[in-house]
Amino acid sequence: MQSSNRKALLGLTLFLILFPVVAMNVSAIGHYLDIMIFVGIYCLINMGLSLLMGYAGQISLGHAAFFGLGAYTSGILCTKFSMSPWLAMVAGVGITALVAYIVGVPSLKLKGHYLAMATLGFGVIVHIFFNEEVSLTGGPSGFSDIPGLSILGFSLNSDLSYYILVWFLVLLTLIFSLNVIHSRIGRALRSLHDSELAADAMGVETSRYKVMIFVLSAVYASVAGSLYTHYVGFLSPSSFDFFLSIKLVMMVVVGGMHNIWGALLGTWLLTFLGNEWLHVFHDFDILVYGAILLAVVMFLPDGLVHLVPRMSRVWKRG
């Protein structure tokens, strides 16, 4: 692994260890632990989205659907079939991967706008499915009483324990993703982003890699969905609507889509904005979201993460 990544990883781990210590002792930000759990869950999805969009150059406006598939599979299997949550999570991954493969093979033959619309359409269809299959999903009002997670009989029902679980998984996924990025597969993805013609001529199986990374990103989203289900204990279709898909893309783009660290930064920033700092704006948060996204795309196309090296240079000089 590159030394810059190693440093950043170390910094992130330290931050994650210190965060609960501070948060739990300062009452004003005591509930930040709860928000950080959601940040972690969205980070899981967005690392996959970053691999797909920033590295392979393929857009998806339907990732809320994969998040929802994981969440609903876990929720339904645990409440209606009393399955073990961990087994249900694995089942969710299997189902989501299968759906992603079936949708991905024809979709990823499409390019640009067509791919965007196809994934958007897919996301809306899945959302309608969650709404309409009342006997399975509880319809628009959803269902509740989903059990929490436990490990070896130790129940993860405190915020702290869930925080540790979620961020442990985020770190593992991050390391896995960084390893993929800095390998022949990562290079194949980036090469097809820059020139599909040349990538093909070098023998890179471009369509296979597009589908592979699409399925991988769906798997990340599915795991995130299962974690979400067991944390909130309640599911309804409105948590997985089309606007969430857009918000996920927004997080990745605002942070900087050509860099997986950008996805983490954007997720952290926009989740805190949405859950905490934008309460001043009440319902008008989408106005602010739209403005932020537009400003970043127009004036900072590489995202906020692009500012980090610049700032650290200024820091060192100062």
Binding site: F176, S177, N179, V180, S183, R184, I185, G186, R187, A188, R190, S191, H193, D194, S195, L197, A198, A199, D200, A201, M202, G203, V204, E205, T206, M212, L216, H258
Partner: protein, 264 residues
């Protein structure tokens, strides 16, 4: 089929390609024997780049046959043809701009490596060893074209001449038996072109057959063993440089361009 040891013969028979009613290739036939430098020349719009694109599987042909050692490959995908030992560069440079120079060449090693998503994600031992080999081999190919001290720069930041060399290194990294160069000297200055001629000879010494499309007549006459001349999607002449120079059909085809034969 094992391409490691056997030399590769390329046969093209009656090849046809049309785009929306325009015939770019009208029944073209020729062959390339192993171990030679073969140049394909012709005025703009003669169909030279289309020929490369059809051979390397960018477009399927509308008719005719392409064979490598007798095995027909027409209609194969580009990635399959790369695996059969035919690699190429592009007329309008297609480097991977946002990757470093070294990473560009490492993509060339893609087909010579096999680590899957699990072993790369977990960095298993075999993958690490393979990754080291990819890096070493890529460095060697960079050194071969003389770009070793550019390894960590972004490919998009190189000047055009070096991007063209980078494409050659990337193509060589696939371990090809046949290398197709599409206007390698386009945009190069005289000194760079001389370097290119030397490089092409060194590539030949590695046992790699070179087919090039080129406009620079000095270079073509200087280094080629055989020349094929195309015009309007057809072959109008083929032979040794000396024969081509004196072919009346060739002179006629080039008349509009006023080629100065005195310095050929």
């Amino acid at each position: 089929m094992n391409t490691e040891s056997s030399p590769l013969f390329l046969h093209v028979e009656n090849l046809q390609k049309s785009f929306g009613g325009v015939q770019a290739l009208k029944g073209l036939s020729f062959k390339v024997s192993p171990g030679i430098i073969k140049a394909i020349i012709g005025p703009n719009g003669a169909g030279k780049t289309t020929l490369f694109n059809v051979i390397t599987g960018v477009f399927p042909p509308n008719g005719g046959a392409i064979a490598l050692n007798g095995m027909s490959i027409e209609g194969c995908k580009a990635r399959e043809i790369a695996r059969l030992g035919v690699s190429r560069t592009f007329q309008n440079v297609e480097v991977f701009g946002r990757m470093t120079v070294l990473e560009n060449v490492m993509v060339g090693r893609h087909i010579q490596s096999r680590a899957g998503i699990i072993s790369t994600g977990l960095r298993l031992v075999g993958m690490r060893r393979e990754e080291r080999q990819i890096r070493e081999s890529a460095m060697q190919h960079l050194a071969f074209v003389g770009l070793e001290n550019r390894a960590t720069e972004l490919a998009a930041n190189l000047p055009l001449g070096e991007q063209k060399l980078l494409e050659v290194a990337r193509a060589l990294a696939t371990d090809p038996k046949i290398l197709l160069l599409d206007e390698p000297a386009g945009g190069l200055n005289t000194r760079e072109t001389e370097g290119l001629a030397a490089l092409i000879h060194r590539i030949l010494e590695q046992g790699i057959t070179v087919v090039l499309v080129e406009h620079d007549m000095n270079l073509v006459m200087d280094i080629s063993d055989e020349i094929m001349v195309m015009n309007f999607g057809e072959k109008i002449a083929e032979g040794k440089p000396k024969q081509i120079k004196n072919d009346p059909l060739v002179i006629e085809a080039y008349l509009g361009e006023e080629v100065d034969y005195s310095d050929l």
